[in-house]
Amino acid sequence: MGEQSPVLEMTGIRKVFPGVVALDGVDFRLFPGEVHALMGENGAGKSTLIKTLTGVYEIDGGEIRLGGEPVRISGPLAAQQAGVSTVYQEVNLCTNLSVAENIFIGREPRRFGKIQWGKMRQRAAELLARLDLDLDVSAPLSSYSLAIQQMVAIARAIDIDARVLILDEPTSSLDTAEVAQLFRVMRRLKESGVAILFVSHFLDQIYEVSDRLTILRNGQLISEHRVDELTQVQLVEKMIGKELAALEDLEDKAQSNRERSAEAKPVLEAKGLGRTGAIAPYDLTIHEGEVVGLAGLLGSGRTELARLLFGADRADTGEVLVDGKRINLRDPQVAMKHRIAFSSENRRAEGIIGDLSVRENIILALQASRGWTRPIPRKKQDEIVDKYIKALQIRPADPERPVRNLSGGNQQKVLLARWLITEPRLLIIDEPTRGIDVGAKAEIQRLVAELSDGGMAVLFVSAELEEVLRLSHKIAVLRDRRLVEELENTADVDADRIMQTIASGATS
């Protein structure tokens, strides 16, 4: 990229929340026609920086210049008018309105105050054609998949004549083909001179599509690089600020405990368990001290399989045996009584209660299993909570802080702590490391390894193959809502081997 002047220049940005300095003198530059990745662990200040740009937060210090002119961004509308558009992780559109309306609302073509629907639909179709999309623009947005909704959000963003386009975790809910399509769109926009700020937790994606990257840690600027001058390992080290020894260490550990569990007793057996439309009948046995990994693509039925074992959905065929005895798994309470715990994939919607404190969130499941008529004494609560905050290294280590003020990784740890204090015999964790940073990921993986060493059975569901390979004794591979293969995680099993199964569906 030639030496042009940046379209966006942020200098000395400072943002303080009660008790926390979220951004401390951060500089950030964005040039026209580049894809720039903003990197950092959860809680490093990425979201805060983006929100100061989009007008959700006002900065407490520093300066923002757009096209060389200092600007004050007072709200989302002001940001859009200044040429900064954002597409958020959760699609922020109105699904009750039509595709065309979602692109143009607030800027509808009008004559004498009357909206020109025909012109609007035509322009929407043209705009979508530029993104290689052919949609029925008068259909309600709700009739399209999340991926398409995201593309519509991008169409809306670029029609505002955005000079700066912010894509905040746009790929986290897309499948492979959809990600490829998104990247095509991004490259096209880049060629037309739009500056794109891209946030993603998938390092491969960063390296595939970005030109430069800026690394934040603990609210401070660490460095700015061209992507080709930094290896992935160097990048991760800069993000977490320590050597990768922690991860390596874990590797050895998991390797060694793969051997065991041969003569362990089965904790749970599923026989021909299935649910129409969700998952085909499957057999699965989980032993004491064993980590069973579930591998498969997004939508292959990973979560559905796990939910049946917890009674979150009712199976319509098959049976579940705990300690060799058949149980009637009609709802999660039954599962909890048999000491089966389920840490959900969707921590925001199904797990964490944002307004309650860390302590209250942790104590919730234990209290529920005791019944609400026998409250846990406060002193006991503090003891337990302190122990787990230390053990899981939940930060900040303040039990009374509302959970919503914690970063994603720490929320995940709180959720895990909630189930761990109920001392489950089988812990089902669905995507515990999704959307959290490398450091926290390593800690959660280590924890899972330790728990299984201590005799707990774990069903580990993850989209990241290497994570599954590293932790599991046994791997169950899913494809198209069917359990296609179960293999012992021996030395000759690697990612390629599993990918083959996922791609071909071959059973051995």
Partner: protein
């Protein structure tokens, strides 16, 4: 780090193919409730024609508009509020306040052309106040407008707790004015005003930015805000409009009865909400049409007409039937929206 969701799978093709796969045809579910109400209306009317003599007289339909003019105007304002996902409980009380205030001011010899804009402005101001409280202090619409209800009702009773007759010439002239539509079919100006308000509301909702913003806010207020739409302004405007419609309803009431009474319009907020719901306006906001509200009002009106024709049924039966219909329609809406997802 290899993530599985990232690794290319050979089976899935490129862009255009992908789009075709995503393009699933779905019938537009947003018209189902309104069609159901229309169907119900036709069935009820046919039943009436089949069972009662003179039910097929055109004046039966024309009188529906005359007898339900006030409800229609109020329900139009309520439609805007419900479309944003809110609710306005104060409209019945605003009607009371408007009728008694109109009668009292006219009795005190205020010029009618001053009284008319004054009471309409008061209604709009009450609405705007409630909207401001809802928006700026993040108060639930239910609570804010409940407070408005008590305030307006109390103010009305303070002015006068007895019925006050109106002897003003202009009011009487409008009240006595008849519009001949056809031989033997006459209607009153208030019906025309009600119909005009429906037409105006339909145009605003379909063709103006304000109207579309109303739908956007009802669909997802957080998204609307992030899309840069004027959420606060629109919300306050919607309650202002509802207050204005309630005041207009009150004026129509005072014209129709040439009197003002502090208990006039008692409970009409609930009739208006019921009409909206029966007309397919989703209580959670973002879906529905003012045409549906019109049909909803006509359905409730037609129930009363049929009970009148029957002659031997207590008027309370109309409430029972409306209650049953409400249940049926809420359940149907739930089923339709669930299917849409």
């Amino acid at each position: 780090m290899t993530t599985m969701d990232m690794t290319p799978v050979t089976k899935d093709g490129g862009g255009p193919e992908l789009n075709k796969r995503r393009r699933v045809y779905k019938p537009n579910t947003k018209y189902i409730p309104i069609l159901a109400t229309l169907f119900l209306l036709v069935v009820m009317y046919s039943t009436g024609v089949a069972n009662y003599r003179n039910f097929d007289d055109p004046s039966v339909i024309v009188n529906l508009f005359r007898d339900n003019a006030v409800l229609l105007v109020v329900a139009v304002g309520m439609t805007f509020v419900i479309l944003t996902g809110g609710i306005d409980l104060s409209v019945g009380a605003v009607i009371s306040l408007t009728t008694i205030l109109t009668a009292t001011l006219l009795k005190a010899d205020w010029p009618p052309l001053v009284v008319l804009p004054a009471v309409l402005l008061l209604g709009a101001l009450i609405g705007a106040g409630q909207g401001a409280v809802i928006h700026f202090f993040k108060v639930e619409p239910f609570i804010a407008t409940l407070a408005g209800l008590f305030l307006a009702r109390g103010a009305a009773l303070t002015i006068n707790d007895e019925s006050v007759p109106i002897r003003d010439d202009m009011w009487r002239e409008i009240s006595d004015f008849r519009i001949v539509l056809a031989d033997g079919v006459v209607t009153k100006p208030i019906a025309i005003i009600a119909i005009l308000s429906v037409l105006a509301a339909a145009a605003v909702l379909a063709w103006t930015r304000f109207g579309r913003n109303v739908y956007a806010i009802g669909g997802n207020a957080d998204s609307a805000l992030l899309m840069g739409l004027p959420v606060g302004r629109t919300r306050i405007a919607v309650y202002t409009l509802s207050g204005f419609c309630a005041a207009l309803g009150g004026v129509l009431f005072s014209i129709n009865s040439t009197s003002g009474w502090a208990l006039q319009g008692n409970g009409m907020e609930l009739d208006a909400i019921a009409a909206c719901v029966i007309g397919g306006v989703l209580l959670t906001g973002g879906s529905g049409f003012v045409w549906g509200t019109l049909l909803g009002v006509l359905v409730t009106g037609l129930i009363r007409t049929i009970i009148n024709f029957q002659g031997d049924l207590n008027a309370a039966w109309s409430r029972i039937i409306i209650g049953v219909l409400l249940f049926a329609f809420i359940v149907m809406q739930r089923l339709v929206t669930r299917k849409a997802k």
